[in-house]
Symmetry: C2
Subunit: 161 residues, 2 copies
């Protein structure tokens, strides 16, 4: 199973693709989709095209994202949700299973603890994927964590590590 | 100039298309895009397809929506923003100018008053478009108000009525 993880954002949307091979999970590719400042519509089209190209290239079976929750309502929060909506739409259009999971679920799946800090999550992402160094930038590492959680979701963490 | 107005929503997204002909504004079509309960991704794809068909049918030059603001952050608010993101993306992909305007701007453009109530807005929408009865349902009437505001935006209301 190949899972595309998305770390939502408008200016920077992290992505990470992982493949579950038996009990192992390997990194396929990761990075960041960036949109330059400008009209929102154009930025959303850029996200649509980049997610489309990524899905065609990596052939994931599922698209998993972090469920958005902002403590404070703002234009930024709404724009991030719009960008995420476009990514989810492209995924569903390609027949991918789309799923949103909460940040504590991501942390729990990757580290065994729902309140793990960012460093622990990155450490375990690196370890679980058998990488020699921490994936950079942070948006991409976060997206890989989401993708790993998408692979393991429903399994106790011990079965996935 | 033909303007497509959108009243954002996931379960129900109102739309209204108006055309500015000299100093007159006429209604081209209006209605509601509905998505049945089910996975979010599928609902977003339904919105994408319906907005796409609407744009191809009505040939608008601009897509105008109400800027989202929710007093309380919630899953519903985020899902409405995702749905709106998809609509904006389809518009921009078709080369439409996309614009978001605030509810007070819509009210001011249609009635001359930023704090007008819903009934006043519907009354003026009906009058400005020369319709014999109030457009139904409310989502469609709201979308027509947004479209009219998109036509008049930047002009003093007296020039548009």
């Amino acid at each position: 199973m190949i899972v595309l993880g998305i770390d939502p954002g408008l200016e920077r949307m992290g992505f990470g693709v992982v493949e579950k091979q038996g009990s192992r999970i390997v990194s396929v590719e990761y990075g960041v989709i960036k949109t330059p400042p400008g009209p929102l519509g154009n930025r959303l089209v850029k996200i649509e095209r980049d997610v489309e190209a990524l899905i065609q290239r990596a052939g994931p079976d599922a698209l998993v994202t972090e469920r958005l929750f902002f403590a404070k309502n703002s234009t930024t929060a709404m724009d991030v949700a719009k960008a995420l909506g476009v990514a989810l739409c492209v995924g569903a259009r390609h027949g991918l299973e789309t799923r949103e999971i909460t940040p504590p679920e991501v942390k729990k799946a990757v580290t065994g603890q729902g309140n793990a800090d960012k460093r622990q999550v990155q450490f375990m992402v690196t370890r679980l994927l058998g990488l020699t160094e921490t994936p950079k930038p942070d948006d991409a590492a976060d997206a890989l964590a989401v993708a790993i959680a998408g692979c393991l979701h429903g399994l106790p963490p011990s079965l996935g590590s």
